[in-house]
């Protein structure tokens, strides 16, 4: 009788493949990690942390974000409280330039090196781009040298070029979820349209920031699919959000992602994306609470959004800065990003 082939342990394989060689896990391997039993989470997080330290270093990139144009979006992203297609309590609002300058200053004062200007739109029109241009100028005139990123939806080539010319160094456009699950989440545009914008952004020389939201009804296999699709994009940054079931949206009654599941996701994404800036973004407060955020930071995450989000609130920035201090994780300095 022939002995059954010994099952290769995925974390053992990851140690050699990802930690030693810097090669991200395959889709099958990511799925194996996501399917690990809960008692192996500490081992997974320890390995993910080692991978992050080896391939990214000890520094943590801190970012603040602000909504320049809130609500009234024509798209139907089912997770989003800013869609005009759902009966969400979020009303439309525009932030004026002095408000934008203040928000950038608040962000810079936390020690953050990144400030992302976000608008709830399908893509920017002339008015919005003009507001961004004026905003960037005003932030610089305020003596603030923070790196400026934007997230303004889908772009044309001309708009990409315009943002480059303004000095926007990074562009966020999330693929949100696996390609196979995207049509269940958004019907007003396609995953491929988002991909096209990301390609133009990369080719124009801006840094690519692209992540998504965990907990939108995707299967574990689709979560693994998403991780490797992101890896194929080779983004500079991946923001990892956990669904906030917002009232009025189609997902308002979806459960909050459980902490153990979220930690496995964090670890798995780090092992799929060993060299990428992996950022804790929205939803961590509900999913993890205070303790879990610390576990995530010790489990492969090397960037955070501090302070509030676009329509939801985050922890006070100082609490996160104190946490990083307690973990002896240095904040990336602005000089090292230039």
């Amino acid at each position: 009788m022939t002995a059954a082939p010994e099952q290769v342990d995925v974390l053992g394989a990851a140690r050699e493949q990802v930690l030693e060689r810097g090669v991200g896990l395959s889709e099958e391997q990511v799925l194996a990690v996501l399917s690990l039993s809960d008692d192996r989470i500490p081992e997974l997080l320890e390995l993910a942390h080692q991978v992050r330290m080896r391939w990214c270093g000890p520094e943590v990139e801190v970012e603040g974000i602000v909504s320049l144009k809130t609500g009234g979006c024509p798209e139907d992203c089912h997770f989003c409280s800013q869609s005009g297609q759902f009966p969400s309590p979020v009303r439309s609002a525009w932030l004026d330039i002095p408000g934008l300058v203040r928000a950038a200053r608040q962000t810079r004062d936390t020690g953050a090196t990144e400030f992302c200007i976000v608008a709830a739109v399908r893509g920017p029109d002339k008015r919005l781009l003009s507001q961004v241009r004026d905003g960037v100028k005003a932030i610089r005139a305020d003596g603030n040298d923070i790196q400026i990123a934007c997230s303004l939806g889908m772009l044309t080539q001309e708009q990409v070029d315009e943002l480059v010319e303004m000095g926007v160094h990074r562009y966020n456009h999330n693929l949100e979820t696996a390609r196979s699950h995207f049509p269940n989440v958004v019907t007003t545009h396609s995953w491929e349209e988002r991909w096209d914008t990301l390609k133009m952004v990369r080719e124009a020389g801006m840094e690519v920031c692209c992540g998504g939201i965990i907990g939108m009804g995707e299967t574990l296999a689709q979560r693994a699919e998403f991780a490797v699709q992101l890896a194929a994009l080779e983004p500079d940054e991946v923001p990892l959000n956990f669904l906030i079931p917002n009232p009025g949206t189609p997902y308002e009654n979806y459960p909050v992602v459980e902490g153990t599941e979220a930690l496995k996701t964090v670890g798995a994404f780090r092992l799929a994306l060993p060299r990428t800036i992996l950022r804790f973004a929205g939803g961590r407060e509900l999913t993890f609470g205070d303790l879990g955020a610390k576990q995530g930071m010790l489990g492969g995450v090397n960037a955070i959004i501090v302070g509030n989000y676009l329509t939801n609130l985050g922890r006070p920035a100082q609490e996160d800065l104190d946490m990083l201090d307690e973990l002896s994780m240095p904040i990336k300095e602005l000089s090292k990003t230039l």
């Binding site: 602000v66 009303r91 439309s92 609002a93 928000a103 936390t110 407060e285 509030n308 609130l313």
Partner: protein, 63 residues
């Protein structure tokens, strides 16, 4: 002024159990409804705070 309506769901405070609403307001949400008249407010969230404006009862901030 006394809060008559829940800032999270806009329903009367005495009408139902608002403990889940209170948790959301404590952890991740600014108020969306005016506590005096239940009108939906225009809310601007910024990195360090929020401002909520009711067309009838004016502005509230995170302080």
């Amino acid at each position: 002024m006394t809060a008559v309506y829940c800032g999270y769901c806009g329903k009367e405070v005495g009408e139902a159990d608002h403990s889940a609403c209170a948790k959301r307001l404590r952890v991740i949400d600014p108020p969306r409804f005016c506590s005096v008249c239940a009108r939906r407010m225009v809310v601007q969230v910024t990195p360090a705070g929020w401002t909520a404006t009711c067309s009838r009862h004016g502005e509230t901030t995170s302080g």
